[in-house]
């Protein structure tokens, strides 16, 4: 049975962009923060906040374990030991695709032209933005449920090829403007697809 795909498109101010997380993505370690760096990061963040456009779509799918390295998720079958382990004990899972939109890709390119440092900061902040967005969506979906950690194609031994199934099951092109390149990258680049296993009630 084909199930509904629902949309979730929060406003920019509903999603937290964690600057600490962005610093971590850029490899900044330790507690002492360089004031100049942090000041510049906050300036870039203002631009990022104007460029983000949060869009996600999701659906709930039946999950059926076939073997310890094979699992049926809705209409398609995945060969992956890691995913089978992740979803063990789940008979349903949420599948979602989320993006912060194509404007941020343009912003990163634009800032990189005049300053590689600012380009790097925008890139890291946008990564933090998509993470924050996924966390928000995850929290909403998991409300009142016992759920597993998010699992995306490319994790463990799950092939990136499955991105195609995610895109088609979610109709993510139409719903949120998500597409795959021939090398199986998601475009816009700051996008995520994932499964969230729903643990069976005991």
């Amino acid at each position: 049975m084909k199930k509904d795909v629902m949309l979730f498109c929060p406003n920019a101010n509903e999603v937290e962009i964690n600057s600490e997380e962005a610093l971590r993505y850029m490899g900044v370690r330790g507690k002492n923060r360089d004031e100049i760096l942090c000041g510049e990061l906050e300036e870039v963040k203002v631009r990022v906040l104007k460029a983000v456009c949060y869009r996600a779509c999701y659906t709930k799918l039946d999950v059926k374990s076939v073997a310890d390295d094979k699992i049926i998720i809705g209409p398609f079958c995945v060969s992956s030991r890691s995913l089978a382990r992740n979803l063990c004990g789940c008979s349903e899972a949420y599948m979602f695709a989320a993006t912060v939109g194509s404007d941020v890709d343009r912003l990163i390119a634009r800032l990189s032209v005049s300053s590689a440092a600012r380009g790097l900061m925008a890139d890291a902040l946008c990564s933090a933005a998509i993470e924050g967005f996924c966390d928000l969506l995850n929290a909403r979906l998991a409300e009142g449920l016992s759920t597993r950690a998010r699992f995306s194609p490319g994790y463990g031994d799950m092939s990136l090829e499955y991105q195609k199934d995610f895109i088609s099951v979610l109709d993510a092109g139409k719903n949120i403007g998500l597409a795959l390149t021939q090398s199986l990258m998601l475009t816009p680049t700051k996008s995520v697809t994932a499964l969230i296993g729903i643990q069976n009630e005991k």
Partner: protein, 801 residues
Amino acid sequence: MGIREKIKEKRLYFDGGMGTLLIEKGLMPGELPETWNITRPNDIISIHMDYIRSGADIITANTFGANSLKFSDPEEIITAAICNAKKAVAAFDCEKYVAYDVGPLGRLLKPLGDLDFEDAVSVFARGMVAAQKAGADLILIETMNDAYETKAAVLAAKENTSLPVFVTNAYDASGKLMTGATPEAMVALHEGLRVDALGINCSLGPEQMLPVVKELIEYSSIPVIVNPNAGLPKEENGRTVYDVDANRFSDVMVRIADMGACILGGCCGTTPEYIRMTVRKTKDIPFRLPQPKNDTLVSSYTHAVAIGQKPVIIGERINPTGKPKFKDALRQNDIDYILREGIAEEEHGAHILDVNVGLPEIDEVSMMTRVVTALQSITSLPLQIDTVDPEALEKALRLYNGKALINSVNGKEESLEAVLPLAAKYGGVLIALTLDEKGVPETAEGRLAIAEKIVKRAEKYGISKKNIIADPLAMTVSANPQSANVTLEAIKLIKSKLGIGVSLGVSNISFGLPQRDFLNAAFFTMALSYGLDCAIINPLSTEMMKSYHTFLALTAQDKMCEEYIDFASNVVSESKFTKSQVVGKNDADFSDLTKSIKKGLCDAAQRDAEKLLETLDGLDVINGYIVPALDEVGKGFENKTVFLPQLLMSAEAAKTAFSVIQGKMQNRSETGKGKIVLATVKGDIHDIGKNIVKVLLENYGFDVIDLGKDVPPMTVVEAVKKSSAALVGLSALMTTTVHAMEETIALLRKDCPGVKVVVGGAVLTQEYADMIGADFYSKDAMQTVRYAEMFYGSNKRDKDN
């Protein structure tokens, strides 16, 4: 009667959704609906017949995703689909039309994605040719949520078939396409490309569509199509149902018909019942064609700019004339330099960017293509294509994601014949220079006459006068004291007699005179008060922007003087800022260049370098201050006390100091330490890491030939051969693109033996690097610098020995 005529006579109806009905008939999840054209034709024909019975005039063939990216033999499916639709129509004795249905390809076009524009055109063309051959009556391009892909599809239809073209886009709840275009921008694009009808479908229910429908009708001069979803999907007893029923749907369609939409139908979730009720309730509403609109619109992939209302500023800085640095950038393929000019213009208030990259010694066609493409990936301002080369013009107009300004056509036969057909095919607003074979007329009347001639000739190509802007040519007052008067008179005359917009390249007025900004600014104000609609100026000139903002404030075109206040306070704060900095500098706190670079302060580094150059030679500043600072930061990075963003900020501060020194040392340009070709490999569109490596290498004195992202192996080989670089750096982010890296290395080994390859990127490891035959694996940007230093250092020693 053909459908082109029919849509001018009466309201027509599209059919409704197909997907939901196919699921009811047993289409399995994951099964491609288009295959049913062949496997279950009778089910498809029966759905078409139900729609015809419900009153639909246009039957959409079941071909939404039937393209060569999804099917190995799309022609077979398309032919069967059109044939099914025609069979359904043949069963009735009335005039119905069969539409070949074209949906998005499911890939994002470059530069945001990896699908080439021309490849997209070819994929669309293949299906369209088959559809015409199979007997389709029209092409319906629908559910497109990206302006660029829409343009590729429309061009494919126009170039390969003679069929009428209808286009509907999918707008979201914010009233824009997924990639940002407003309805106004889409109207400009579609009318420029001369589609037969345009509109909206999918994504939204009829009520949510109302604001977009209103805008489309407000701007469009051609019939508007409205095909909404049956609201939003929800789940009920395990089935997908839509939340707007046929009754409510058709009630809203009545409002939409009243607003002036000419063609109505449905999309996802709608059934023959929805169409039947819509037809019944709207068929007696009087039909009216849209009023022709007279707005002069240019557009980008996000928005339209109207010319003829508030004066428009066209930035003139992307132009090599009289700019040695810009010329150098063109010769050296330094696209980033050009992009920075564009960004600066936008930040200073330009509404449109003029793009002129003509230089006798470069290939203008390819440079124009690259610059237009690159600009569109970093700015959303509309572009003005400025070239005298018809081939460069055509290529740019083709690849431009919107409706461009065309600079220019003039009264010469040769120009009219070259430019008008291109404007007719691709759309665009023409800047018409009032000169012809006899030169520039000395009188305003003479210039009006040429403008009239151009307007008449353009009409023959179907180009309406709203898409022509006259440029009555500003000529320097140093040669003829009357020239400003004549130009101003011509502005008035052309506007009153011909009723078209007027533009000027303002700065020409002062050619050959000192302090040109003084004259330019005064003339600009005068021209504005004569009714100038747009001006090609330097938006970085404070004098010019002063004229502009004061004029707007004084002529009630700046609500509450908000823009003026904003502008004025920025000008003031800029001068205050400089002052306080100067004071700080004199205050014993004489910061030194080394410190500024280590902290990553560009402005301070610039001032410090300038100060040092008052007493020291450039080379002393480099060796005594910049190099030690960079070394310290580089070592800090390696010892993990300095992190990547700080390393880059320091690199940029150093770069600023370098450029100050270079300015002083002109003609003493040092030869670099060595050449390095950099590329992100084919299939990979992430280039942030590669850009970081580039900045650092440049900082350390290497000449970097940056090939960008998604670079085919052959391009790398060609660049190595052309530059005779001995070192190549390749970057890949994904496991899926490491293979492309391997191919690139293999081709380099074959065609450029001896060249060394350093690789890096998120997924790479020493193991991977060894496996694909790289010479060096670099775990971060600094390691690449060290490798390059070692490589060229030892190379040099070898030569010296």
